[in-house]
Amino acid sequence: MVLTEVTGRRMKSHARWWLVFLLPMLPLVWLVDRALALDLGADPAQAIVQFTGIWTLRLLWITLAITPLRRIFHWGWLQRYRRMMGLYALFYAIVHLLAFATFILGWRPDLLLRELSERPYIIVGTLALLLLIPLGVTSTRGMQRRLGPKWAKLHRLVYLIALLAMLHFIWQIRSSFQEQLIYGLILAWLLGYRLWKRHRAPVRKPSRMA
């Protein structure tokens, strides 16, 4: 009886793993489907770049939300999906940049050079992606062990990356800032929660001693 309970639990967690693994793939599947159906309007290039960009942001925010949600709701099981979500964010960011270079710039060297040297929001976005790559590369358990305490320090870069991604997004406001405001407020909470936790921890100790 104990055995079947363990197997049952394992199967449930297996199913959950697959579900969480497949979910972030759906937006891309939808996008490819629409692109093949020629249903992305007169400017499919722009549509693809915008879509993959916003999903990069969403997955990055989801990655950052895992730790606070786990703590607040005591969802220990969430932790194992943090790396997966982070890697998905990296994946969508790479597709985003490749789509921009391919569909918008046609890999024309002069345009690539111009965009990467003169356009602040392109520079900031590219920088965010470049910084995300080492985090992806060192996300394995082996690397985590090998880097030891340096690993946590390195992965704090994700806060800077999120801020750069947010700036990249804000810099493209034409008239309405509604979306940017929503994403900005969520990010403020995600980062603010951490600051608050860090700030609270050292204060508690002396008060206890006193």
Binding site: G41, L105, Q178
Partner: protein
Amino acid sequence: KLREGDRNAALSTSEAPAPYISVTTHNNFYEFGLGKQDPSRKAQKFRTDPWSVEIAGEVNKPGTYALEDLLGPHALEERIYRLRCVEAWSMVIPWMGFPLGDLLKRFEPTSRAKYVAFTTLHDPEQMPGQRGFFSTLDWPYIEGLRMDEAMHPLTLLAVGLYGNALPPQNGAPFRLVVPWKYGFKSIKSIVRIELTEEMPDTTWNLAAPNEYGFYANVNPTVDHPRWSQATERRLPSSLFSPNIIDTQPFNGYAEQVAHLYNGMDLRKWF
């Protein structure tokens, strides 16, 4: 279907027009939403009949006119124009319309008329984009031209597209088309035309004066502060041919209009 109008070949480009579906589903008309496909989805119930237009300011015959009376006397012609958006995409569009100058003359501008100011309908009930709290644009949308620009034969009042009446997402019942300027100058769904002595305010200039000037002439050598204007993507594009072409001074109409700006520093008066 509109009255038949002959193509004005002399003032039309020989480039191939974008398909009707592209022209009518890829629109910047923020009154109906920010997405390019929002206007085509949200403007279909837009009421353009009845429609009246106020002619005001420095004219001898000011007044409010029914659309039919306003447009009635004018023979329509087809003009195939390039349209260059400030966002660095472009399209070729076959408009039906007549020169704005012909209309203005009927109302007898006075000698004090130096500019023409235009206003789009303000109707938040019909235009969801005018209801939002988060827009940096003030409604109604306003635009303007200098008198000589307004009287230029290229400056068109369009009432149709591909031989049919303008669909709402393209600015029904009638709109301005100024082909050598960025698309945002070509104000849609006009309800008011005022001739003024002073340079009028314009919506995008009020929202971001460092990014959008009053003149807004297409100019590959003056970049938007956030992106380049040297090239444009001609739409519709397919994914593996981005259709990138060089942007031309005055959108290719330099021969006809460059003289209007003789002696002006186009970097300063962007």
